[in-house]
Amino acid sequence: MTPLLRVEKLKITFPKGTGHSVPVDGVSFSIDRGERVALVGESGSGKSLTSLALLRLVPEPGRIAPETSIQLDGIDIMGLKGEALRALRGGRIGLVFQDPMTSLNPVLTVGYQVKEAVTAHHSMPAGQAKDRTIGLLEEVGIPDPIARYRAYPHELSGGLRQRVMIAIALGGEPDLLVADEPTTALDVTVQAQILELLDGLRTKRNMALLLITHDLGVVAERTDRVMVMYAGQLVETAPTRTLFAAPGHPYTQALLRSMPRLTGPITRLPQIMGAVPQPYAWPAGCRFHPRCEHCIDACTSQAPPWRSAGPEQEAKCWVVEGRAP
């Protein structure tokens, strides 16, 4: 089966002084129909830019390098222009934004904004559009959708607004839903509800879901596969279960170790020393080597290759083999 989305050598550059900064540098991955994939990484690792690149919405003055290839269901996204590009945005790929407080237009009713998404890609009579909008509001679990249709965003709670954002993203019937930190701005209890909703919708509509997050707890329960991003590159990809049981890359291991646990003796939480490097000065060799406890000579000079760390698990690391299960 050919994957729904295939991204190859995604590279995003921003002009900086006389040179360039490269916040995303050679990211390749694919997502199957109906698959749930998480992209995790720290702030500044390039995960949000990666998601925007799928819609060709990299903010100015950023550029997607010409060697990049992005294919969705056989369509070459890099070659799209004008109308075709607009049809992709929202129509094939839906985007759920991080902050439901600012991502809804304060002067338009909720119903209007959802209806706009419904009619943006499929023209239909006004009455039908309204029915579908109310149907969508119901589907994303908004109580009393007929009354809420006329509500303004400020009249809704954060959780309800995020549900509206999801309804908007679903309006164009996308094949792939990209959710960029969809729960960051919400209470923990509401977070769980939103994740459950996203998962339910994915199953019902056979959509693929790309969940972008820095929260490993979010990843653990609701995804099939995890891609770990560090300093503009993917460093590990593995089935979720495997990743948590036997992380391959030293960065992933360190990330998991730095998560608080409910069991075991209470000790000081281990941390990863140092900070994420800057995109205009990535370290030579493996980009994680200055912070890595397993660093060997090769790491400091040569970029590591992808190596198998287990079944369906790969890590971009020179030393991974020794510890693979």
Partner: protein, 280 residues
């Protein structure tokens, strides 16, 4: 405000400031429309030897130094001054808003080009531009005067609107509109325009009084409308030599300008509140 613009406007009119502003505006309109039909000829000299007489039953606003009925002149002036104020401001707001929306949304060279033009235009005093235009145009007809005033007044508005658009462009919902595949036209008119309406209304409020006085200034300098045409501005200026002996010739046309500006202020306040759902 989705779909039902009329409902929003109605809500605005029913608020306290909307009611008082609306009442004042209706009063002004009645005066402008019915006044000149019912009152004596505004240019008619009744009794030149009598000169200016204070308000009386026969002449509720008194008469001026040429013994013309001030109420009749104020009513006829209402037509001219309101026409100039409303139409010229509408023209300059439309052009200024469009220019500001386009410049702010498009950015890049188009923004730079439009805004440098605006900079250049703002650097030259408006009165000077108008004088240049009007000296070559003797006895300017009213529609042309409105056009000229309107087209020289949009620069500030475009600046305000552009600034607001630049701020809004980084808002999540404008980016979300792009992610949904909204065409630029839709983003500009459906998402940006309602959000800059407050700024536009403030700009309109300020412009109305300014334009009435600008017309008066032009007439005073002899390049706008000419006496005996009774615009409020001309009346105010005419009264300058007589206001110590006949203060009513200054008071009534001046008061009308004040009431008009007040009415527009109240209305724009009410409309701004009505268009902003958060203050409802």
């Amino acid at each position: 405000m989705t779909g039902s613009l009329a409902a929003t406007l109605w809500a605005g009119l029913r608020s306290p400031s909307g009611r008082s502003g609306g009442l004042l505006l209706v009063g002004l309109l009645v005066l402008a429309l019915a006044g000149p039909r019912l009152l004596p000829d505004p240019t008619g000299i009744t009794d030149l030897a009598a000169g200016a007489s204070p308000p009386s039953l026969g002449h509720p606003f008194g008469t001026d130094h040429l013994s013309r009925d001030v109420l009749a002149r104020v009513a006829t002036g209402a037509r001219i001054s309101l026409a100039i104020a409303v139409l010229a401001v509408a023209l300059s707001l439309t052009v200024g808003t469009l220019a500001g929306l386009i410049a702010g949304f498009a950015g890049g060279w188009l923004d730079a080009l439009l805004m440098r033009m605006v900079d250049a235009a703002l650097a030259i005093p408006r009165l000077f531009v108008l004088l240049l235009l009007l000296v070559v145009w003797e006895q300017i007809p009213l529609p042309a005067l409105i056009g000229v005033i309107g087209l020289t007044g949009w620069f500030g508005t475009s600046r305000l609107v552009r600034g607001e658009v630049l701020r809004l462009r980084s808002e999540g919902y404008i980016q979300a509109a792009a992610a949904l595949g909204a065409a630029p036209k839709r983003t500009i008119f459906r998402h940006l325009l309602p959000n800059v309406l407050g700024v536009i209304l403030v700009s309109a409020t300020l412009s109305v009084g300014e334009v009435i006085l600008l017309e008066a200034g032009l007439s005073f300098l002899g390049v706008g409308l000419q006496p005996p045409t009774p615009s409020w501005g001309i009346m105010v200026l005419d009264s300058r030599n007589h206001f110590s002996t006949a203060p009513w010739t200054l008071f009534f046309p001046g008061g009308m300008i004040l009431i008009t500006v007040l009415a527009v202020n109240l209305m724009s306040d009410a409309l701004r509140a009505a268009f902003d759902p958060r203050s409802a």
